[in-house]
């Protein structure tokens, strides 16, 4: 009699018991020797997706680089909550210069390390969506096209949260921000605008582009480690819910991030040299209402007169993503990135 296949899945999720994984695949955070690159005591809000994402990403980068890492940070929440004078939460060499120049500063760090023959030390630059898609884009595009040896991580919370939730080039349609108020015929941010930075990064044909969310932290860690095995310009775009700006419950950060992926609104994928090599399939296809209705930035869509017209436009964006990236499990792309790299 054939033994039934072992099922590691817990009820309703892909979560797998970490203890059952081989040592190399176990999550970095479960390791008592994790580096705590972004240490406790910082001043992020409760439920901050960016703090969570940065902690996992940098500890993974530290493991991948054998603790030979320099981080460059753009101005923004991550910078402000981690280094209020005279304290710092960083246990790694860390440099903050300006809002819009983190990619160029990282280029300088990488150049200095190269000229000094310190090939063991790696460089990560990080910024929010404003510092990436808007004010930092010129420097980022320059860093990409020169193929400088930098992993750039964007923690995307879809607006300028540090200054009080104003619209950025990454703010989705219909979302209320302080500069796209939920008033008028088209409440919230308008449709037909915004920058898709992962696609722009792919257009530079850089070594590696990936998206991730804080709902699947193991996937985030793997992508960071994969990126760190490569050289040249690499880009990681991490969706990080912001309870303050999105109006979601602090305890719902993971849930909201998961719904962004499960609805198809945020495709999770990898691309090598400009070609998509893999996607994270949607496990439970979910209507966008479930994602939108738990965030007060979309509350105007669910008032006395629900704006089903707007909700259906958002649903069509999700549907288009699902078709374009083949996000349903049946037709998901499954090229092994390692093979595509060769």
């Amino acid at each position: 009699m054939t033994a039934p296949p072992v099922r590691f899945y817990q009820v309703g999720s892909f979560a797998v018991g970490n203890r059952l994984l081989p040592d190399d695949d176990q999550t970095v955070q479960s390791d008592p020797n994790r580096t705590n690159s972004l240490d406790s005591g910082h001043r992020a809000c409760q439920g901050c997706g960016e703090a969570l994402g940065a902690r996992y990403a940098l500890d993974a980068a530290m493991r991948a680089s054998e603790a030979r890492l320099v981080a460059v940070n753009a101005t923004g929440c991550l910078e402000v909550f981690s280094t209020p004078y005279p304290e710092t939460s960083w246990r790694i060499p860390w440099l903050h210069s300006l809002f819009g120049n983190a990619p160029a500063v990282a280029t300088g760090v990488a150049a200095a390390l190269k000229v000094k023959g310190r090939s063991d030390v790696r460089v990560v630059a990080q910024a929010g969506d404003g510092g990436t898609v808007d004010i930092g884009f010129g420097c980022l595009s320059g860093m990409f096209e020169r193929n400088d040896d930098v992993l750039f991580i964007c923690y995307d919370n879809e607006a300028y949260m540090n200054t009080g939730v104003q619209r950025s080039g990454a703010t989705p349609p219909a979302a209320r921000t302080a500069t796209t108020e939920a008033i008028g015929e088209e409440p919230g941010n308008v449709f037909g605008q915004g920058k898709n930075l992962p696609r722009l990064a792919m257009a530079h044909e850089i070594t590696y582009v990936a998206t991730a969310t804080v709902a699947d932290l193991h996937d985030l860690e793997e992508k960071v480690e994969r990126a760190m095995r490569l050289h040249g310009a690499r880009y990681l775009h991490v969706l990080v819910p912001c309870p303050l700006g999105w109006g979601s419950a602090s305890c719902d950060t993971i849930r909201v991030a998961r719904l962004a992926k499960e609805t198809g609104l945020f495709p999770v994928f990898e691309a090598v040299h400009g070609k998509v090599t893999g996607v994270s399939a949607i496990r439970h296809r979910t209507p966008v209402e479930e994602y939108l209705s738990i965030q007060t930035r979309y509350a105007h869509l669910f008032g006395e007169r629900p704006r089903t017209d707007i909700i259906s436009r958002i649903q069509s964006i999700a549907d288009r993503n699902i078709a374009e990236y083949q996000l349903l499990a049946d037709d998901a792309i499954t090229v092994e990135p390692e093979k595509a790299e060769t």
Binding site: E79, L95, A111, G142
Partner: protein, 417 residues
């Protein structure tokens, strides 16, 4: 070695002798020949080890320099005019972080109207940024100041800007004595950073500072600039001893003995001023010159001493504060506030207009008669201005002033159609 060489080339070769480890630049006239020459030296292997990075903007050029300097590499860049303004946020940042970057500023006017020729508006726009600003009078001094600038910057952990007049110096071919590698190596020790990004000793650089300590941090920056007032003359003396020529220092007095009128200026115009002063001295007038090399930090005491006893000070400036008047004049006025000399400001050379010896001699003659206005615009064609004022008064939609004035002068065609 004595060479007949373009100013940009002399600076590029001297910078290369200083062994910069990261050089990045974005092209802007009249800085281009400097970075082209350094780029070629890196590509040929003549300058190694060095990373030469072609960046996408001046903002990136200074930002790359910041990252490289904070990682312990000797960093150099060059710019001018609009480029300096485009990087200004990073210019302030480099000073605030205390990073010893050296930058050549090929002085050029700022638009609009766009103008590629020389004046000092660019340097004046960043005078409060915390950078040390040294002005070269000649190409020899421009080259020599770079050797001193790297040592000064690294001793004090402050960025240094070497200002040289665009085209007038950068594109002029003249005799320059270039040092050899061994001489520069003996003068300029390798860069030992005060702070560095190093995984073996992690630090956080660029933390946020609120009202509880911001003033102290700023005051510290001020004190370190004042330290430079001590170091600049010391380094100039050490340079003289090592290389056998006088370059740099805080200021250069010329024929100021017993002078009743002293002209104060920055940069290459000092050569013409000295010619004018020589002519007036030959005619029996007691006139002299003080050329200021260190504009920031401003050597207030040294200027006060150099101007003591004179009756008249005429500051010739290639920039001015619109709506107010002279910039350098304001600093000179502060230095001489307890003196009873009269101070006159002459603004000239804007956007590359030549400052001629004849015009300067007229200025000196008017000053000697005490007929020089407190604020004089040298060789200003006031009729042209008045005609445009007239057009603006008579017609609401009078159009762009720059084009109107050029049409008035007959240098552009009349309105099309």
């Amino acid at each position: 070695m004595l060479r007949q060489i373009e100013g940009s080339r002399a600076v590029a070769e001297t910078v290369a002798l200083c062994r910069p480890e990261v050089v990045c630049a974005y092209p802007i006239s009249p800085q281009t020949h400097i970075i082209e020459a350094i780029g070629a030296m890196v590509k040929s292997g003549a300058l190694t080890p060095c990373e030469f990075i072609n960046v996408e903007s001046e903002f990136a050029a200074m930002s790359v320099s910041i990252g490289a300097s904070a990682t312990g590499a000797r960093s150099y860049t060059a710019t001018a005019s609009q480029g300096l303004l485009f990087m200004i946020e990073a210019v302030y940042n480099a000073a605030g972080l205390g990073l010893p970057i050296v930058m050549t500023l090929a002085n050029r006017a700022i638009g609009a109207p766009i103008n590629i020729w020389n004046d000092h508006s660019d340097a004046m726009a960043v005078r409060d940024s915390g950078w040390i600003q040294l002005f070269a009078e000649t190409n020899q001094e421009a080259a020599d100041l770079h050797v001193q600038a790297f040592r000064l910057a690294e001793e004090l952990s402050l960025p240094v800007m070497v200002c040289m007049d665009g085209f007038i110096l950068t594109h002029a071919v003249e005799r320059v004595e270039l040092p050899d590698q061994a001489e520069v190596d003996a003068f300029l020790p390798s860069y030992e950073p005060r702070q560095v990004l190093d995984p073996d000793d992690p630090v956080s650089i660029g933390a946020m500072v609120g009202p509880e300590a911001f003033e102290e941090v700023r005051y510290l920056a001020h004190l370190r600039q004042l330290d430079a007032l001590e170091r600049i003359p010391t380094l100039a003396a050490a340079f003289d001893e090592a290389f056998g020529r006088q370059s740099g220092g805080l200021l250069h007095p010329y024929r100021t003995e017993g002078a009743e009128t002293i002209v104060v200026a920055l940069g290459s115009v000092l050569g013409t001023i000295k010619d004018a002063v020589d002519a007036r001295r030959d005619a029996g007038e007691r006139v002299g010159v003080v050329g200021i090399t260190a504009f920031r930090p401003f050597p207030r005491e040294a200027v006060r001493g150099a101007l003591s006893g004179t009756h008249r000070v005429v500051v010739v400036e290639k920039a001015f504060s619109i709506g107010y008047g002279g910039v350098l004049s304001t600093d000179v006025a502060m230095a001489t506030h307890d003196s009873d000399c009269t101070l006159r400001t002459v603004v000239g050379g804007l956007g590359g207009r030549p400052i001629t010896r004849d015009s300067l001699e007229e200025v000196l003659a008017a000053a000697a008669r005490d007929e020089l206005d407190p604020l004089t615009f040298l060789d200003l064609e006031i009729e042209i201005v008045q005609r445009e004022r007239g057009r603006m008064t008579s017609t609401r939609r009078s159009g762009p002033s720059a084009e109107n004035i050029l049409r008035d002068l007959g240098t552009v065609a009349s309105r099309i159609g």
